[in-house]
């Protein structure tokens, strides 16, 4: 495995006295895709938000390429230029068209020439099948289209790493696929990613390594084939079973309808 890109060391984070993350440590290597799964409220999103400084950690430290990005002297703007993040709610800027959304970061934060970024943006839009939407306003796009734009927006910053926080949770099933295809594509190209998701099949397909988080602690960690098919802990087994149960229930409902 290549060099560690991101190291999270013994971080803890609480909100108003309630512990959300407790002594969490993990490493993401260059080119690796780490998937974090776990029940709602287990601290998955908080973990990602701590990594790029949207939440302040209470203790521990986080290193990017061996350099601390937490603590007093941290430079959040610099960190965020290297670590991209995409959210469940897309969060495109509603007052700008798609191209405006894509250009803002690279031209303002990175001060790159507009024409150059524009060409890159068009190429990326083409790749995700949205070149015709370059001058559409976000509110005219479907959820899946918005999320693809959000992914392109993050990628245009040429980040060293991407954090994806339940990016398909707000999408209709048929749109989930078009977004996940883009992510799978990025993974194939060697993009380093930390992904929080509830799509277990996708998690298995995209992950190099899986972390199961519950109650703010890492309960299990392993390769996807092992975690999804032969989980070591009882808790992970129960968690994975809830998905099997849901699928089974859906199946019995469908056959009842027919």
């Amino acid at each position: 495995m290549a060099n560690p890109l991101l190291e999270v060391r013994h971080i803890s984070k609480g909100f108003d006295g309630t512990g959300v993350l407790e002594d969490v440590s993990l490493t993401v290597h260059e080119g690796e895709v780490l998937v974090v799964v776990g029940p709602s409220g287990c601290g998955k999103s908080t973990l990602l938000r701590c990594i790029n400084g949207l939440e302040r950690i209470d203790s521990g430290e986080i290193l990017l390429r061996g350099k601390p990005i937490t603590g007093e002297k941290r430079d959040l703007v610099a960190v965020r230029q290297k670590v991209g993040m995409v959210f469940q709610s897309y969060d495109l800027f509603p007052h700008m068209d798609v191209m405006g959304n894509l250009l803002l970061g690279p031209t303002k934060a990175l001060r790159r020439p507009k024409a150059e970024v524009e060409a890159e943006a068009m190429a990326m839009l083409k790749r995700v099948g949205l070149e015709e939407k370059a001058h559409a306003l976000p509110r005219t796009l479907s959820g899946g289209q918005k999320q693809r734009v959000a992914l392109v927006r993050a990628m245009l910053m040429k980040p060293e790493m991407l954090l994806l926080d339940e990016i398909t949770a707000a999408l209709d099933p048929e749109m989930v696929r078009e977004v996940l295809n883009v992510v799978l594509d990025l993974a194939k190209e060697g993009m380093t990613m930390a992904i929080v998701t509830h799509e277990m099949r996708f998690a298995e397909a995209v992950a190099d390594r899986v972390i199961f988080l519950e109650g703010g602690v890492i309960v299990e960690e392993g390769a996807p084939a092992q975690f999804f098919h032969h989980p070591k802990t009882e808790r992970a087994r129960q968690f994975l079973n809830t998905f099997v149960y849901e699928a089974a229930k859906k199946q019995s409902e469908n056959s009842a309808d027919a």
């Binding site: 949207l54 703007v77 959210f87 700008m96 068209d97 803002l104 970061g105 934060a109 509110r139 910053m157």
Partner: protein, 221 residues
């Protein structure tokens, strides 16, 4: 109705209208500046400044402009500060308007989703860049209707300037009534003058509000 009277004094009204407009616009522009500062002090929870802004807003919004003007024009000279009518009028209007503008801007800023700020931060924008390109355009679009209402409200409030001996529209009308007993004509011209001032503003604002609905901005780059 005495039309020759109306004809004769129209220039006088026009002059007063210009004065009203000038005082009004100056006061409103300053109100916006004061409002913006107060709103930012509150939004960013600047220690001390934030409490001062809050106290000022409550004071300004809960006392009548007439009282504020009397304080400036008749009260301050007693402690040795003598201001001209015009200065008093502008300061008074700014004092009142700043509070209303602060609240209008605040409603706009608060309407911008927290996740928008985070999205901007995640693109590596600095705090100022985020404000300028992401937050303010959206906040402004939301605040426009309230700001427009304030502009019209403040323009109308200029009618109390006459109380501190400023020769605005109201003052001229009272003067003419007192001198010639032409109450109907003087009041008709007064109403007409205010409408001439405010209707165009109102029309422009309705158009602006329609354009900015959905915080859409048409096609901003």
């Amino acid at each position: 109705m005495d039309w020759t009277f109306i004809q004769r004094f129209t220039p006088m009204y026009a002059e007063a209208a210009l004065l009203t407009l000038r005082m009004g616009l100056t006061g409103i522009a300053l109100s916006m500046a004061v409002g913006l500062l107060c709103c930012l002090a509150q939004h960013y929870r600047l220690p001390a400044l934030r409490q001062i802004a809050r106290a000022y807003i409550e004071l300004a919004r809960n006392t009548p402009l007439l009282v504020q003007l009397f304080f400036l024009y008749f009260g301050l000279p007693k402690v040795g500060v003598r201001l001209s009518s015009e200065t008093c009028a502008v300061i008074g209007l700014t004092f009142l308007g700043g509070a209303y503008m602060a609240e209008a801007f605040r409603s706009g800023l608060e309407a911008v989703d927290k996740t928008q700020r985070e999205a901007g931060e995640c693109l590596g924008l600095t705090g100022l860049q985020n404000l300028r390109y992401v937050i303010f355009p959206q906040a402004l679009a939301t605040a426009v209707p309230a700001v427009c209402a304030n502009v019209i409200f403040l323009t109308k409030e200029t009618s109390v300037f006459s109380a501190v001996a400023l020769a605005d529209l109201m003052y001229v009308a009272k003067d003419l009534i007192g001198m010639y007993y032409k109450t109907d004509e003087a009041l008709l011209m007064l109403v007409a003058a205010y409408l001439v001032l405010l209707l165009p503003i109102s029309v422009v604002f309705s158009w602006l509000e329609r354009r900015l609905r959905y915080a859409g901005f048409g096609r901003a780059a």
